[in-house]
């Protein structure tokens, strides 16, 4: 039995979620290879991969066709690499992983388990269902097990001194049924939301887009990422890629500070795995109080500047 982890890289750097998926793969106890896909910058990512603990061999698929990664283009490559004898295929449950892996599953005629939060054995896995209100244990009956990994549930794999092998692989083709048109990526100096050590999130209580600056300043003081509740995103206070919750990002930082967030089920599903939760809210009865380690009932616009100053 062998495991293949599908890596994701941005500008030559493996994503934090990829490093978590490697940790999950290592827990399977099988030989683990990493498949790095991309354009020019994939070479640097493969070099980084060669020094990661637990990675036996790095496979590099580099070419112009992978400059912009589309599921339709990479599925044939992944399916053909898997057919070389892999029994387990893991990817981060990122928007890319969730888009690609089901196509690979269908092409191999096997099922798939999404958002795995715990490896029980080589064929048994846990994953949250119903917005995290239940944890299901599934056994996979297929010869090849496909899993996307909930990155917040696994630590990031560490690096080592010894360089592993890097092997070049071919494959992938330009699909005719889809064409990349454009992308708008948010440029931020702050750490990535899903892997940040500290997250400060604002909710409807922030009242306006301008007021979100109060949240940002506290986040910057702590070197943290900024998040938002769905209500804040829907009200236009924050961009949608900052949404924390069942339908947004799942986070589990050391410290999560929820400001003006009431704590709807769907928000709690995205952050209740955090180590320490602080809620700052005007309403002492808000449901967020049920998961908070520390609840501060206060006016947000007095508490946030005071907090910024005290840090």
């Amino acid at each position: 039995m062998r495991t293949l982890v599908i890596a994701e890289q941005v500008a030559g750097q493996l994503t934090a979620g990829t490093l978590s998926a490697i940790t999950a793969a290592v827990e399977l106890g099988l030989e683990t290879d990493l498949l790095v896909i991309g354009g020019q910058d994939a070479v640097a990512a493969a070099e980084q991969a060669a020094f990661i603990q637990g990675v036996h061999r790095t496979l590099l698929a580099q070419g112009a066709v992978f400059e912009k990664i589309l599921p339709e283009n990479v599925q044939p490559l992944i399916s053909s690499v898997v057919a070389e004898g892999y029994t387990h295929v893991l990817a981060d449950a990122s928007s890319l992983g969730r888009s690609v892996l089901p196509r690979v599953a269908a092409s191999l005629d096997v099922g798939m388990l999404s958002d795995v939060s715990k490896i029980v054995s080589v064929d048994t896995f846990q994953r949250p269902i119903y917005a995290g209100n239940a944890i299901a244990t599934f056994q996979s009956l297929d010869p090849v097990k496909l899993l996307t990994i909930r990155s917040s549930a696994f630590a990031q794999a560490a690096t080592q001194q010894n360089r592993g092998d890097v092997t070049v692989v071919d494959g992938g083709k330009i699909a005719t049924n889809v064409r990349f048109v454009a992308e708008q990526l948010t440029i931020s100096e702050r750490p990535e939301l899903s892997s940040a050590r500290v997250v400060v999130s604002g909710g409807r209580g922030m009242q306006s887009k301008e007021n979100f600056a109060f949240v940002e300043r506290v986040a910057d003081k702590l070197g943290g990422a900024v998040g938002a509740s769905r209500a804040a995103v829907d009200s236009g206070f924050a961009p949608n890629d900052l949404q924390v919750g069942q339908t947004g990002k799942i986070v589990a930082p050391e410290l999560y500070i929820a400001v003006g967030i009431s704590g709807a089920i769907q928000h709690l599903a995205g952050m209740s795995g955090s180590k320490v939760i602080v809620a700052i809210n005007q309403d002492a009865e808000a449901p967020i109080a049920q998961v908070a380690d520390y609840m501060l009932v206060a006016d947000l616009f007095e508490a946030l500047p005071a907090l910024e100053k005290a840090l």
């Binding site: 339709e72 599925q75 928007s95 890319l96 969730r98 888009s99 690609v100 892996l101 089901p102 196509r103 269908a106 005629d109 096997v110 099922g111 798939m112 999404s114 958002d115 269902i129 119903y130 917005a131 995290g132 209100n133 239940a134 944890i135 299901a136 244990t137 599934f138 056994q139 996979s140 009956l141 699909a175 005719t176 049924n177 889809v178 064409r179 048109v181 454009a182 992308e183 708008q184 948010t186 500290v198 702590l222 949608n240 890629d241 069942q246 339908t247 410290l255 209740s272 180590k275 602080v278 998961v291 380690d293 520390y294 609840m295 501060l296 206060a298 005071a306 907090l307 005290a310 840090l311």
Partner: protein, 249 residues
């Protein structure tokens, strides 16, 4: 043009699910069921495309027990033209559902197939992508805007760190995200009219799809409960606790 919308009957989003005491599954006995919220967005989008004159027919399809007729009637009341139910009492594994839907697509030949990005019960987020693979179509997951121009579907989609636009040839598979639209409510006259719209029932076994068990549910447990926290009286007390008790700053 025809759009096919695949919908799922799922627990109502306002209900908090409970785990059965024997740990075999969640307890859905007597629990309110609804159209999965993301599927509702997909239905709304199809109806808007019809209202704009982009498509001429909206067909909704579900895979499940006969109880799913209730959700198909809801979609008809929202404005879909007709409905299909692939009736099965087996567990709804994504690949099996995708295979049934592929057979329906063979028969219906739609130019656009819409899905919710995921169902809020099992949260698999797989079926749309699997259907796209099975029928050889391009896909756009997490759609936040859909338009049709020059024979192609142009879809803006939400991705990690921003948004992306892709162009898909026909037929295309698109899965719908939260910000695509805000679904309407069905009016009483439309609910009455929906009762007379065609709803065809197909026995799953009659479709010739090769389905089997891929995953087996062994156990369902409640998540660990967080221990009760404390109220702090001031910002300085909060900072003191975070520094000296929790050690996180």
């Amino acid at each position: 043009m025809k759009v096919l919308v695949a919908v799922k009957r799922a627990i109502d989003p306002n209900v908090k699910v409970r785990v059965k005491t024997d740990g075999s599954d969640v307890d859905l006995n007597g629990v309110k069921m609804s159209l999965n919220p993301f599927c509702e967005i997909a239905v709304e989008e199809a109806i808007r495309l019809k209202e704009k004159g982009v498509v001429s027919e909206v067909v909704v399809v579900s895979v499940g027990t006969s109880a799913a007729q209730e959700q198909l009637r809801t979609a008809l009341a929202l404005g879909a033209d007709r409905a299909l139910l692939v009736e099965t009492s087996s567990l709804l594994e994504p690949l099996n559902v995708a295979k049934y839907l592929s057979k329906v697509i063979d028969r219906e030949r739609p130019q656009l197939i819409l899905f919710g990005k995921q169902a809020i019960d099992q949260e698999n987020n797989q079926t749309g992508q699997m259907v796209a693979q099975l029928i050889g179509s391009g896909q756009a997951t997490y759609a936040s805007a859909i338009s049709y121009a020059d024979g192609n579907w142009l879809v803006e989609r939400e991705v990690d760190g921003g948004s992306q636009t892709v162009e898909l040839s026909v037929p295309a598979v698109v899965t719908c995200d939260l910000r695509l639209n805000e679904p309407r409510y069905a009016s009483l006259p439309n609910i009455m009219k929906a009762k007379k719209k065609p709803l065809e029932i197909l026995a799953a076994d009659s479709l010739g799809a090769s389905v089997k068990e891929h995953t087996r549910l062994l156990e369902v447990a409640s998540p660990p409960v967080r221990k009760a926290g404390i109220k702090v009286g001031s910002v300085s007390e909060l900072v003191e606790k975070l520094k000296n008790v929790s050690g996180v700053i």
